[in-house]
Amino acid sequence: MHELSIAYALVETATQAANDSGARAVTVVRLRLGALSGVVQDALQFSYDIATQGTLLEGSRLEVEALPVIIHCDRCDRDVALPNIQLFCCPVCNAPSAKIVQGRELEIASLEIEDDNPTA
C-alpha cells in the first residue's frame, strides 16, 4: 500500500504547479494512470482525501484516466493494446514483445484552478 506516498507526492507536485500560476484553490486534478504504474486506483482515491487535507487541493476531485498497456508488435509493425498484463504478446499474431508504447504513466495531465486573474 504505497498509494498514500503517491498521493502525498501528487499533492506536492500539483501544489507547486498551482502556486506557480497564482492559484487560490485547485478544484480538479486529472491523472493519467497506466496499467503498469503499480498504483491501485481505488486505494489512490482513498488516500487522496487524506493527503489533500489542509492544502490548496482540499475538497478537489481526482479524475483518473486509466490507460491500458500498448505494445509495439514488430511482426505486425503496429501498436496494439493488451487485453491483460499477464501476457506480453501481440493479441493479433501472438508474437512476444516487451516494447512498451503506453502503460507506465503516472502523471498529472492538468489541473482546474481558481484564481483572481480576471483576464485568464
Binding site: 504505497h2 506516498s5 503499480g38 498484463i85
Partner: protein, 222 residues
Amino acid sequence: MTTRLLEIRTGVLSKNDQLAATLRRRLQDAGILTLNFVSSPGSGKTAFLERTMRDMTTAGMRVAALVGDLETDNDAQRLARSGAQVKQIMTHGNCHLEADMICAHMADWDLSAIDYLFIENVGNLVCPSAYDLGEDLRVVLLSVTEGEDKPLKYPVMFHSADVAVITKLDLAEACECDLRLMRENILRVRPGMRIFEVSAKKGAGIQSYIDFTVEARNHRRI
C-alpha cells in the same frame, strides 16, 4: 474569482525521478554498477547477496550494499560479514525505498572505493516497482517455494525488472517446482528477460550470475 485549466503533464514522482537520474549519473561517473534487488519477503535476497558479495569480495572486487528493511539491522549485519561496506536503511514502516534514502545513506561513502553497489529493497512485490533508485539494472528474485505463477500474479514488478533470479534451487525437487513453467511465466510478462537459477546455499549458478554482473559493468548493457 475565475476558473481555468492548467495543463501541466508532470510525473507524480518527478521529484524522485530527477533525484534518481542525478544519482545514476554520479554512480556511473564513479564507475559503479548499481543493482536494485526486489522480491517478496523470504525469497532469499539476503542469502543470495551474502553469497555473491562474499565470492566477489574474495575475488578482489569492491562491493558495497544498502539494505532496506522496515525494522532491524539484522540483514546489514549478515552482509557486513563479507567485509564489504554495508549500511542499513530502516524505513520504519514505509513499504519501499526512495531515491532520497539512497542519497542520504551513502553521503559519507568514498565512491572511488566501490565498483558494485547492491541495493536490497524492502521485501514487497508491489510498491517498490514505482520508485527509480538510480540503478542500472533491476533484479527480481523468485524462490522455487513461491509457486510457478507468481510472475502472473505480480506482472507489474516482473515487467519492471531487467533480470530475474530463481533462488533456492536446491529445494526445487522437494517443492515439486516446475522450473520450466516458472521460466515460461516470467517470459510471458517480460519477453526476452535474462533468467538465472541459483542456490545460495550450494553455490549452483552463482558464478554465472557474477560473470554476468561483471560483464554488465564492463559493457553497461544487459
